[in-house]
Amino acid sequence: MSQEDVLVGFAAIINEVAGVPIDDVQLDKAFVDDLDVDSLSMVEVVMAAEDKWGVKISDDDAKNMRTVGDAVAFINANS
């Protein structure tokens, strides 16, 4: 799975959960500081990502996902 495919997948999830425009979801963007995804919405993002890519994301793993790029890298390394 390419990095681009995972990014597109995250963009769709973040748009659905938090209403962030798809084009704003880029690898260097931070969930909280740039995209205004709050902690509850982040839980939803993690659930949707687990379902989409069939991975398990622990709370500790999720805490380390500061940027979209961190989350994409996690999916690529674990799915």
């Binding site: 959960v17 938090a18 209403g19 509850l40 919405s41 839980v43 939803e44 659930m47």
Partner: protein
């Protein structure tokens, strides 16, 4: 010296309309919002009919905000935005702004949907928004956040009297000096196979499934139970002094409220109407009005065999001879019963009746029950007198809650 409380904004979404004026047009025109519930699950239900909101709140609200809210919260927010805009969205000291929004059952459909998810997909798939969607104070909290209220956000719960209790609580906040402006009302969206089955098990629901618009028929001999409805009604209450200082248009006057309890039975009304009559008299006393001042009653009138008679007895017990010169209307004949939203939407209908000097019809009243000794409005609109007039809204709830609210003309 308690402060005068006025109404400067009104908003609603119900089975007969998505805003106040469409509601009033529908109600004066005698249009029913009752339909067969368009869901496959009704096939096995005894009662298959309800009043579904005419305008789906998710079609009005932002998609992302909608998915974090229970349907009752969505309805409250739609109605609150209409009311707040009509009041002119006052810029004010937020420490003096409150919210009191009631519900009878809270986010029950969200709770049950989450339970389905739990059984099908396990605990890890429960939404992080589930708790704030099911809490009964959810509609009040959502609206309080929307306007930034910091004088207090409250949720009285008294079943089908909740909406009226919220308005009286809000008025007290203003009268006691805690707040200058309070956004108040009630919301309910509890149409679900379990609630329908539960009310049907009490034999409380109409089963006139083959003729939905004729099913809610308060005071009619052929009535056979209430019809579930959903939606919200919200008003902006403020001290007259504050409203005048900011040049707000005054739409109605809150005059007083009476709150009592039957001490009789968990679900059945006291057939003597004693508690309800005391609530009406307490409301008149609070308002400083006489029985002869009440020209119109928007009755609780749910269309249940026992409840309608108990209320008729209570009204006559309280108003005495003045009962003969007041027009009683049962608008649930059109909207169905919004439970915790009922007292709020019906308070708005009561104020609109005073504004336009028109008592709304009671739909489906063909044969007045001979045990009902009231002037019940029939199919048409009844003109109300000019001058200073007042009207009463009654709400009663399972648990024996009796709430009467009185409004005066502007």
């Amino acid at each position: 010296m308690s402060r005068e409380v006025v109404v400067t904004g009104m908003g609603m979404t119900t089975p007969v309309g998505g805003d106040v004026e469409s509601n009033w047009e529908a109600v004066l025109g005698g249009h029913s919002g009752i339909i067969v519930i368009p869901e496959a699950w009704v096939d096995v239900q005894n009662a298959k009919i309800a009043g579904i909101m005419a305008v789906n709140p998710v079609d009005v609200l932002d998609r992302v905000e909608s998915r974090r809210m229970d349907r009752s919260q969505q309805a409250a927010l739609v109605a609150a935005r209409e009311a707040w805009a009509q009041a002119g969205a006052p810029e004010m000291d937020l420490d003096r702004l409150g919210t009191v929004i009631a519900t009878g059952i809270g986010g029950v459909t969200s709770l049950l949907s989450a339970y389905d998810t739990l059984l099908e997909r396990g605990p890890s798939r429960i939404s992080p928004h589930m708790v704030t969607m099911i809490m009964p104070n959810g509609p009040a909290a959502i609206v309080g956040l929307e306007i930034g209220a910091r004088a207090g956000v409250h949720t009285p719960v008294s079943a089908c009297a909740s909406g009226a209790e919220a308005i009286s609580y809000a008025a007290r906040m203003i009268q006691s000096g805690r707040a200058d402006v309070v956004v108040a009302g009630g919301a309910e969206a509890a149409i679900h196979p379990i609630t329908m089955a539960g009310f049907a098990a009490m034999r409380a629901l109409s089963t006139r499934n083959d003729d939905p618009t004729a099913a809610s028929r308060p005071y009619d001999l052929a009535r056979d139970g209430f019809v579930m409805g959903e939606g919200a009604g919200i008003v902006v209450l403020e001290s007259e002094e504050f409203a005048k200082a900011r040049g707000a248009k005054i739409l109605g006057r809150y005059a007083g409220a009476g709150l009592t309890s039957d001490g009789h039975h968990i679900a059945q009304p006291d057939p003597e109407g004693e508690g309800a009559a005391r609530a009406i008299l307490a409301a008149l006393d609070d308002a400083g009005l006489a029985t002869t001042d009440i020209v119109h009653v928007n009755a609780h009138a749910t269309s249940t065999p026992q409840g309608d008679i108990a209320e008729a007895v209570a009204i006559r017990r309280a108003l005495g001879a003045a009962t003969d010169s007041t027009y009683v209307a049962g608008t649930k004949s059109m909207t169905g019963h919004l439970l915790g939203g009922a007292g709020a939407i019906e308070s708005i209908y009561t104020m609109l009746a005073l504004r336009d000097r028109k008592a709304p019809p009671t739909l489906n009243l063909v044969d007045l029950d001979p045990e009902v000794n009231l002037n019940v409005s029939g199919a048409g609109v009844t003109d109300l007198p000019g001058g200073d007039i007042a009207a009463l809204n009654n709400s009663f709830g399972f648990g024996g809650h009796d709430v009467a609210v009185v409004f005066r003309s502007v």
